[in-house]
Symmetry: C2
Subunit: 416 residues, 2 copies
Amino acid sequence: MALIRSWVESANAPEGPFPLNNLPCGVFSRPDEEPRCGMAIGDFVLDLAGLEAEGLIALSGGPLLDVPFWNEVMAAGPQVWADLRAQVTRLLAEGGGRMAAPYLVPRAEVELHLPFLVSEYTDFYAGRHHATNVGTMFRGADNALPPNWLHIPIGYNGRASSVVVSGTEVRRPWGQLKGPEDAAPRFAPSARFDIELELGAVVGTPSQGPVTVAEADAMIFGYVLLNDWSARDIQAWEYQPLGPFQAKATATTISPWVVMSAALEPFRVAGPPRDVPLLPYLQEPGPMLYDIALEVALRPEGGAETVISRTNAAELYYSAAQQLAHHSSCGCPMTTGDLLGSGTISGPTKDSRGSLLELSWGGKEPFAIAGGSRSFIEDNDTLTLRGMARGDGYSLGFGDCTGKVIPALADPYKRT
Amino acid sequence: MALIRSWVESANAPEGPFPLNNLPCGVFSRPDEEPRCGMAIGDFVLDLAGLEAEGLIALSGGPLLDVPFWNEVMAAGPQVWADLRAQVTRLLAEGGGRMAAPYLVPRAEVELHLPFLVSEYTDFYAGRHHATNVGTMFRGADNALPPNWLHIPIGYNGRASSVVVSGTEVRRPWGQLKGPEDAAPRFAPSARFDIELELGAVVGTPSQGPVTVAEADAMIFGYVLLNDWSARDIQAWEYQPLGPFQAKATATTISPWVVMSAALEPFRVAGPPRDVPLLPYLQEPGPMLYDIALEVALRPEGGAETVISRTNAAELYYSAAQQLAHHSSCGCPMTTGDLLGSGTISGPTKDSRGSLLELSWGGKEPFAIAGGSRSFIEDNDTLTLRGMARGDGYSLGFGDCTGKVIPALADPYKRT
């Protein structure tokens, strides 16, 4: 597939991130305006609520767009999603009329909000290199992968209330900590605060009862970048036997733009060969991973940014469709706005690891950044995830998924 | 505290469950009516939406009651909760006028719905006898309690979409299973389907940032009975290292009535002595458990009911207030409608165990019921939880928390 040219000139840049092929979904406002649905196009946000009010966009079951979340469109299902993309493509394609021109708002002027209401958040563990790295650190190389890992897309329920949009500052958490050498636990700020580089799948159409992988794939509205902030010292002490809990509930940052599944269609790639065959309910009818280049950048306060990791979403062992199929397998109802984190996406090399835990090998091997080094996140560091799918003469992005870590409160129970 | 007598005679029965002291919160409808908020009183439901529309109840920020959920009242905070109780008590107290009489709907005529919108669901593990029993079965008596158990109210995030109201049938789930002797996993109906007898705390007022135990206690709107249906064979294979997931997501049944914290105030009891001191952020300023007698009954299709367990909510090691304080400790935002399961409440004796896993000791010691025996739940068994707080001449109940387990689908992927 090639670039779809637009009369919005900034949308035709081959390096993207927002050509007419993309049309990612966000919620925006200018000062003193109500947040509403828009799509990124070149240097602009297209005011979809405005176009719908003017009758230039009309969706089945509408109006759906003059609200500060995409959930109504997401719940409307794949035909409405396709229809919306077709209508916006007609409005913005090169050679067409410019009726939509008054609805282009410079991106520099807008604030971006959480693009959808997160109903529930589930975090998976589908990156084989990540699971192997973490397992090797904790259990040794011979027992790195848990026995179920090659059979189940392992996951746990996270905390939807912790999900914030890119740009939100993240306060270093306090928590209950106990190092292996400590006689007793203590309550203190986390000293091993970390990121996890993930792709998040956004469920559009709901389900009751188990769904197949193909059905699950069709339920997914789109994808975001997702940073699953993780307090490794809280995690180490709390996570047995019931899994991560407070270590993962301080914040989860997502990109401001949801890239629709339809836009990622040309970037589908097959999963890896399977060491052991998957059970039929997890087998994929076609390629369901995506070739999306990913990177993590770290910038200290007042310093220069260093890209500390470069990897690809195709490194995953399980697709979001497989995860969603497994999630529903016991009859768990899935709902519009469910967010499924992929798990940390590490590549096979040192410089493609998707967490500081892995990059510094548990803090034992600090890694270099411009002007210093890091084992874990230091106060006032800004961490940014980026993703880019590169096609034939065009590229799709998600917008930066960024957060600055501000110092822990001196006393978290002091009321001011 | 003694019985508060009402002119609704059926509310004055000393065995309860719905005297004027209780006033639990539910959502009800008669055929062809819209569900709305009501309170149980004797043999009736008091139509609060009707009283509010008529001006006989007026709440700050109202109207709040003509909706099919209690979340608006819950979000309004403790002063509104107290004011509502005071207004209803005045309307129904013996010696007062009977303006409310037209708003009494016989309970036998109504359908009860989920009493509130569950925003997120967290399940804890705060029953020491339960944790010890399960730990002994899985790891031996010497390592029964995990090392963190006496320091942390261990919990994991569950699935809010799985929460259903009492009376909803529960379909036996399929899942990925692998017994210790099996060479490979298979996808099959759960053969070890179970209950967990729990108390659920319902968060009313939201929070940002860590809250103290006292603050947490004041945020809790009330309590429900909660059955955390559990597929033990799915759980055993999936739960390492990230905790229970599909084993717990088929359904979670709650009682139709939320008993407000204020009604349970006279039943407060202190927690147990602590083997090791709790960290300050978990220490309780006063008694925060409740003396509530609990029981589990099992009834086979067409057979007689057997009470298979009798225990008490005072057997918990951690209170809901401690759990909520811990839940918020990393800065996790807590929201109106959060549901916190206590964890299985087992007593010290064989006949006070709160799950079939414990009652049958992992299936090795089937227990007797009228006309047969059980290790785990069989198809068409009905499981019922009951709770009763017994005061001076009166008793408070939650209504039955019941569910019938219907057979697994022959093919969960067949679309009819």
